[in-house]
Amino acid sequence: MSEALKSKIADVLNEPGCATNSTKTDVLRKKGCTKQLTPGAAAGGCAFDGAMIALQPIVDVAHVVHAPAACWSNGWDNRSSASSGSELFRKGFTTDLSEIDIVMGHGEKKLYRAIREVIEAEAPAAVFVYATCVTALIGDDLDAVCKAATAKWGTPCIPVNVPGFAGSKNLGNKLGGEALLDHVIGTMEPETTTPYDVNIIGDYNLSGELWQVKPLLDKLGIRILGSIAGDARYKQVAMAHRAKVTMLVCSQALINVARKMQDRYGIPYFEGSFYGILDTSQSLRTMCRMLVEQGAPKELLNRCEVLIAKEEAKVWAALKPFRPKVEGRRVLLYTGGHKTWSVVSALQELGMEVVGTSMRKATDNDRDRVVEIMGDDKHMYENMAPREMYQMLKDAKADVLLSGGRSQFVALKALVPWVDVNQEKHEPYAGYMGMVDLVRAIDRSVNNPMWADLRDPAPWETPLTGSVLPAPSGACPVTGIAAPRSQAPVLVPQQAPAAAVAPAPSPELAAMTNSNTDFEDC
């Protein structure tokens, strides 16, 4: 690891804005978040993955991954960030290093050529170049290549130094943010600014979630000037330093960016969420209050309250018809961070019972909120092992699981309904309207008649009984005697099939009946 990257990591890990960090002692803080992963018991992405999550939604940028096959060949096209403009960010660009490239040290040259080719082919607003484990290990100088490429072709080439071995996904988020702070933010000026310009940081517009909220901002006249990085144009990142207020959506991931923008450009930030009704309202209120503090006209506060009152009334009216369908259902939540408490309150409002909620990735603040909403911390737990969760669901202690894709099959194989609430999901659940979509998804899932069918026993789980066939009806055409309805002819011997077989079966037949495989299939 280069010295520059080492000091960058140390800097990022010692984030004064981080709630966890601020509670530590000086000695501990110096050590940073040096939580080591446990070999054989780790799951989750690497630093490179994290940087990609944070930066890839910038839509008009070519994201070039400097790596051999695995990093991007396996990883591309797996998230559903939506774009209203360019679709360039969806294309997977990688240098796909070969053994010769690595052994002969052709990495930098290949990268330089790759950058030229992508600029020629796609004319991107910028090229983001990602270092990975192998290219960091062989010592390719990303900064130098990007600098030369920028000078040569005029298209900004941004080095993102995030080798996977550097640390966790969360660290990668932060390092991605650092690359923006170092090379992008503040490099362009907007034509005009308004007192209503905001930055939204940490929302990735998954399935269009940002747009579920945007109409509210549109109505208030608030402009999203900077976005990191949901449906963002490169220019929006470059101009983000001119916004008045920053809203930080996913609190853990990009807090360093928000905090440093406050230090450098004097833009105050707040942590908020658009999951759940109360949270959406709270976030709008805070945003408007801070804009007014930054110099926006005071009447914004009134308009905000009017809008919230109107929208809340509308969403509760829209949710009302679902109440009888979801009331009393027991929900198990397995998500991370802020989603937990903001969804819990809305579900409880609809008469659902939250029987458990995970606190992984949650801050102490999140924890306090859950205790406040649920009354105690009895139903809070940290990570749950899949086997444990399977047992809990199998024992029918919950009617539906709300979680991310990884626990999907734990629920499904236990024949318990599951609703995707993580980043890979295909339906957006943000803002007021998103809550209706979420409750609709829960309704659709738990009330699907399929579950009852699947839980019923298989035909062979109940023993064969009594009469096999319906009695012949009508009269015998020859004798004219009416069929006795009560006496169904028993056509099949009721013993087990083995007993019914002739006393001395041929050797072949015996072999067949003893075989475990179906003779139809062999």
Partner: protein
């Protein structure tokens, strides 16, 4: 519980229904060495043949009594006799199945009576069974014609048997018009896997399954043999695989005392479970073969994977009652909502059991209207539904007859655990195939200001 709606209109737009005689001809083609014979004008046969060839992509033997103006007025008995003579000479069939048409039924010919007289005076016809079904085009659709033909076959060819002497491993399987040849194969595979020996009637799986044969003759190649039909009285039970086969099953019971079971659907977990349960009972097997158990487990897993797409899915379906019922109930059991259902004939007990409020007795024009009005998300009908699919910009899952714009229609299997699994995948994949990426407008959001857009400049290299 559904009510049947008769649209108050005179004009039929984009017909859904295939005629009854064509259904009868298809059933006859499932008999070995058969030539179906339409008693009507030759156009009836020409249109029918083109329809069959477009669907099966096979040469289909189909003959006509070629009624002309004179014979239409004076009676077509002679035309039938002459036609049978000629067919016997040219194709040497073992079986000729006559289906009447609207023309001859409107005239009111006593074909059954004339045929009896003919058979009596023509001993030289020995070796060719001649069967007649009254299938006027103006009553019912394809499945009614099919049912009447099968009823005619069993009435004529299943011997009257005064005493039961069942072979406990032998079962008669009556196949409905809605089954593809692969579906027959699958049902037979399941039955055989319980050690039972099925007589399949009519058996298109050996005649119109699209096989390359080294024989070329003017009659059907494959199908149920007449000898097998004669063995039906010895079967332990008749399995009627569709409500439309109830009548034929009843006739077999009346003639040969063979009890029957009707399976209204073989698609969907519960429907297949009921079928398997009866096979268990018939075979006395408490423990079914591993392939059956495995297929059930696979089907359940497929249901889990597919329910994300079928849950709340708004389905519009147009088909003959049996097919409509089996596909609709399977989808409804997966949380789908049948928002539009159009069918071809009122002669079915299944219509009122449909999992929707109303069923329209109508055409594809009604189908398109109803689907539009109910905001359906997917269409299920035969190939002619492509017009509606195009107009409504919706995915079309092809089911029924005819399917002429896809090859291999006979390989589609939607029955049994395996077929149900494939059907769920088919529906889920049709929904996934819709290219959809959300737009700000979908949520009522204003577009991103153009100011932020990147204007590409030519690269200076």
């Amino acid at each position: 519980m559904a009510v049947l709606i008769h649209p108050r209109r005179a004009l039929s737009t984009n017909p859904l229904k295939t005629s009854a005689p064509l259904g009868a001809a298809m059933a006859y083609l499932g008999i070995e060495g058969a030539v179906p014979l339409f008693h009507g004008a030759q156009g009836c046969t020409a249109f029918g043949m083109v329809h069959l060839v477009r669907h099966f992509k096979e040469a289909v033997p189909l003959q006509t009594t070629a009624m002309n103006e004179v014979s239409t007025i004076l009676g077509g008995g002679e035309q039938i006799e002459e036609a049978i003579d000629n067919i016997r000479k040219r194709a040497k069939p073992k079986f000729i199945g006559i289906a009447s048409t609207a023309l001859t039924e409107t005239r009111g010919e006593d074909i059954a009576g004339e045929l009896r007289a003919m058979k009596a005076r023509r001993p030289d016809w020995a070796g060719t069974e001649v069967v007649y079904a009254a299938t006027p085009d103006f009553d019912g659709g394809q499945q009614d014609g099919w049912a009447k033909a099968v009823e005619a076959i069993v009435s004529a060819l299943v011997p009257v048997t005064p005493e039961r002497d069942p072979d406990l491993r032998l079962v008669t399987v009556l196949v409905p018009s809605s089954f593809t040849t692969s579906e027959i194969d699958e049902a037979v595979r399941m039955i055989r896997s319980f050690g039972l020996d099925p007589i399949v009637l009519p058996d298109l799986s050996t005649s119109l399954d699209g096989h390359l044969s080294d024989d070329w003759s003017g009659h059907s190649l494959g199908g149920t043999s007449l000898a097998d039909i004669a063995r039906i009285p010895r079967s332990a039970c008749t399995l009627a695989l569709g409500e439309q086969m109830r009548g034929a099953a009843q006739i077999i019971e009346d003639r040969a005392l063979v009890p029957y079971r009707v399976f209204q659907s073989l698609t969907g977990l519960k429907a297949v479970d009921a079928f398997v349960r009866v096979l268990m009972e018939l075979s006395g097997m408490q423990d079914p073969p591993p392939s059956i158990k495995r297929d059930r487990a696979r089907m359940m897993d497929a249901a889990l994977d597919a329910h994300f797409f079928t849950g709340g899915l708004r389905v519009a379906i147009a088909a003959d009652p049996d097919l409509m019922f089996s596909l609709s109930t399977a989808l409804a059991s997966m949380g789908a909502e049948i928002v539009a259902a159009v069918t071809t004939t009122q002669h079915s007990a299944l219509i009122e059991k449909m999992p929707c409020a109303e069923v329209i007795l109508g055409d594809l024009g009604d189908f398109e209207r109803a689907a539009r009005q109910a905001e359906a998300q997917i269409l299920i009908t035969h190939s002619h539904g492509r017009h509606a699919a195009e107009a409504l910009n919706l995915p079309l899952v092809r089911a029924g007859f005819p399917i002429f714009d896809r090859i291999g229609a006979q390989d589609t299997c939607r029955v049994g655990y395996r077929g149900t699994r494939a059907f769920f995948f088919e529906i889920a994949n049709a929904m996934q195939a819709i290219p959809h990426s959300p737009r700000p407008e979908d949520f009522g959001a204003a577009p991103i200001p153009e100011e932020f857009d990147h204007v590409p400049h030519p690269a200076p290299c």
